[in-house]
């Protein structure tokens, strides 16, 4: 057991080191969501005047989005790193050691969680600096970080699955914009009850990303909203179970070692 935990930690450490040594991989996931937050807050601030808008601060409303964007970056990072390992033969090297498949996946996910948490802490700090008042308090921030870790696992495992199935970093980068479409077709910029266009409202309601955003948003602007937390955590857990299951199966298929 100690050995397996050591293997998980070693694989995670490698993920973090290799990301930390690529400035673009560190700066972009931190800067891009903040830039989008800045642009949206500037352009959509008037939305807060709409009757029924849940807060008078659009920054507080929109701050939920970077947490989900950060998780999407985790998907791409975990996936492209693994795809590169497949292409270069590094996965074969690892396969020749005594590592177990579960330790490899757990290690890759632990790396994604570490990076996801660093991003989440950065977003929280930026939120506090610009004056966002976290309605659920310090405990709510801790819950928010736990939720960020959970969605990093869910989306990270999806990236790992894609890497194992395709073995191509380019394929994962091709899927990434598709995942962003889910983000834009959610309640990212407007509460669902205020979306006036019927088809968009229907899509946003069916889109699981809406509930992930609303879970984070509730902790920032509402306080302890049981329903939002239940739906957000529930969906994140379901996505996490599904994606880690398919990733584990894909690893078995990819590693044909005897």
């Amino acid at each position: 057991m100690t050995n397996v935990l050591g293997q998980v930690a070693a694989v995670a450490r490698r993920s973090v080191i290799r990301t930390a040594r690529q400035p673009a991989a560190v700066v972009f996931p931190l800067a891009f969501p903040m830039l989008l937050l800045l642009v949206n807050s500037g352009g959509l601030d008037a939305s807060t005047k709409l009757p029924g808008f849940p807060t008078d601060s659009f920054v507080a409303f929109a701050l939920a989005v970077p947490f989900i964007q950060g998780a999407l970056f985790s998907t791409m990072n975990a996936g492209t790193d693994l795809a590169r390992d497949i292409q270069t033969g590094f996965l074969n090297r690892i396969s020749l050691t005594s590592i177990r498949g579960v330790a490899l996946i757990a290690g890759l996910l632990a790396g994604a969680v570490t990076l996801g948490l660093i991003q989440a802490i950065f977003y929280v700090v930026v939120g506090l600096i610009v004056g966002v008042d976290f309605a659920s308090g310090l405990l709510g921030i801790l819950v928010l970080l736990v939720f960020s870790a959970l969605i990093s696992i869910s989306f990270g495992a999806l990236g790992i699955f894609l890497a194992l199935r395709t073995g191509s970093g380019e394929a994962i980068q091709g899927v990434f914009p598709l995942l962003f479409v889910f983000l834009f077709l959610s309640s990212m910029n407007t509460p669902r009850n205020l979306i006036a266009v019927d088809w968009f409202k229907a899509v946003a309601t069916a889109n699981p990303v809406s509930y992930l955003i609303e879970c984070v948003r509730s902790l920032i602007i509402t306080g302890w909203d049981r329903e939002a937390l239940f739906l957000g955590f529930g969906l994140a857990i379901v996505i996490g179970i599904a994606s880690t299951t398919v990733a584990t199966l894909a690893l078995k298929e990819r590693l044909v070692r005897t």
């Binding site: 050591g6 694989v11 290799r18 040594r21 270069t88 020749l96 005594s98």
Partner: protein, 329 residues
């Protein structure tokens, strides 16, 4: 160290791919403990596919193989615990340092934490990478990458080492340094080495025994000396001064031995009477009124062995097969 535990035994090993021919077609071989076995063949001959099967990374379609006394199909984890492997193209992470790689490998191989640092330093010194240990691998030369690759394969003190074309693309200095280290491993540490190569010189210098593979079949096996002795006779390589005289030169040399494939300019004949036949060859050329640009006598090489067994020269024999890596992926 248990002697039998260092051997490699292969019986009727086959690997078929869905869209290709049999990459490996019923090979039989045995590598004794502490031996360096050179597996020689052109690109696409089946060398890498054989290594992937023997290192448990690819299940065989048929046949049996025991590595270190363990069955490669039924006892994969046990096989992996006794082997080290440096596969084709040093698979390294350009963002990690040499020391990071060794630390990761040592952890994944289950080496106790207290030993990892010492073992990493010991291996870095052994392969001459101490000074570059904390530099990112992305800045290493090809030779440094190959040496690190070898160090990684040795982290857990394997009894059997698989090296898949370890010196491809290296300059002669790096190549010689790697040969010295491989020879030392076998001589001093009793490590059994299974080395694939397409370099005749590498097999000749390094291997105790050589197996020559072509189109998935082993076409010859033995010590380099025995294989060359089997071919026996030297060959004469004559280049006419005028290219138009080539056909006349072929006719003039034909009575003195078996013609072999040479380049478009050369005429190559294996001398039926050995070196004793050389004066007659010179006289025949003179009597035919031919002028030569060069005349060379060559002792049999492993290429001659390959030529004799397959009808083709090893150099340039590759390329007509499916790409081995592609099929093995």
């Amino acid at each position: 160290m248990e002697a039998r535990g260092n051997s490699i035994e292969v019986e009727g090993l086959v690997r078929e791919f869905r869209k290709g021919p049999r990459a490996v077609d019923g090979i039989e071989l045995r590598v004794d403990p502490g031996e360096i076995y050179g597996f020689l063949g052109p690109n696409g001959a089946g060398k890498s596919t054989t290594v992937l099967m023997l290192t448990t990374l690819l299940p065989p379609t048929a046949g049996k193989a025991r590595v270190g006394g363990y069955d490669v199909v039924a006892e994969g984890p046990k096989v992996r615990s006794v082997i080290g492997a440096a596969l084709q193209e040093a698979a390294l992470d350009p963002m990690l340092t040499g020391r990071d790689h060794l630390r990761l490998q040592a952890t994944l191989q289950g080496i106790p934490r207290a030993e990892r640092k010492v073992r990493a330093q010991e291996l870095l010194e052994r392969v001459g990478l101490s000074e570059a240990a904390d530099r990112k691998v992305g800045g290493y030369s090809g030779g440094m990458k190959r040496r690190l690759d070898l160090a990684l394969a040795l982290v857990h003190r394997p009894r059997i080492l698989f090296l898949d074309e370890p010196t491809t693309g290296l300059d002669i200095q790096s190549r010689t340094a790697l040969w010295d280290e491989v020879a030392r491993l076998a001589r001093d540490d009793g490590v059994t080495v299974f080395l694939t190569t397409q370099y005749l010189e590498e097999a000749d210098v390094l291997a105790d025994r050589v197996g020559i593979i072509d189109h998935g079949h082993i076409v010859a096996e033995g010590t380099p000396e025995a294989l060359k002795a089997e071919i026996g006779l030297p060959s004469v390589h004559a280049t006419p001064a005028e290219q138009d005289d080539r056909e006349r030169l072929v006719a003039a040399l034909a009575p003195y031995g078996e013609p072999l494939d040479g380049s478009a300019r050369d005429v190559v004949v294996r001398l039926r009477e050995g070196l004793a036949g050389l004066p007659a060859v010179v006289r025949a050329v003179d009597e035919a009124g031919l002028t030569l640009a060069s005349l060379e006598i060559q002792a049999p090489s492993l290429d001659d062995v390959f030529l004799a067994k397959t009808g083709r020269s090893l150099e340039g024999a590759g390329g007509d097969d499916q790409d081995e890596d592609e099929t093995a992926a």
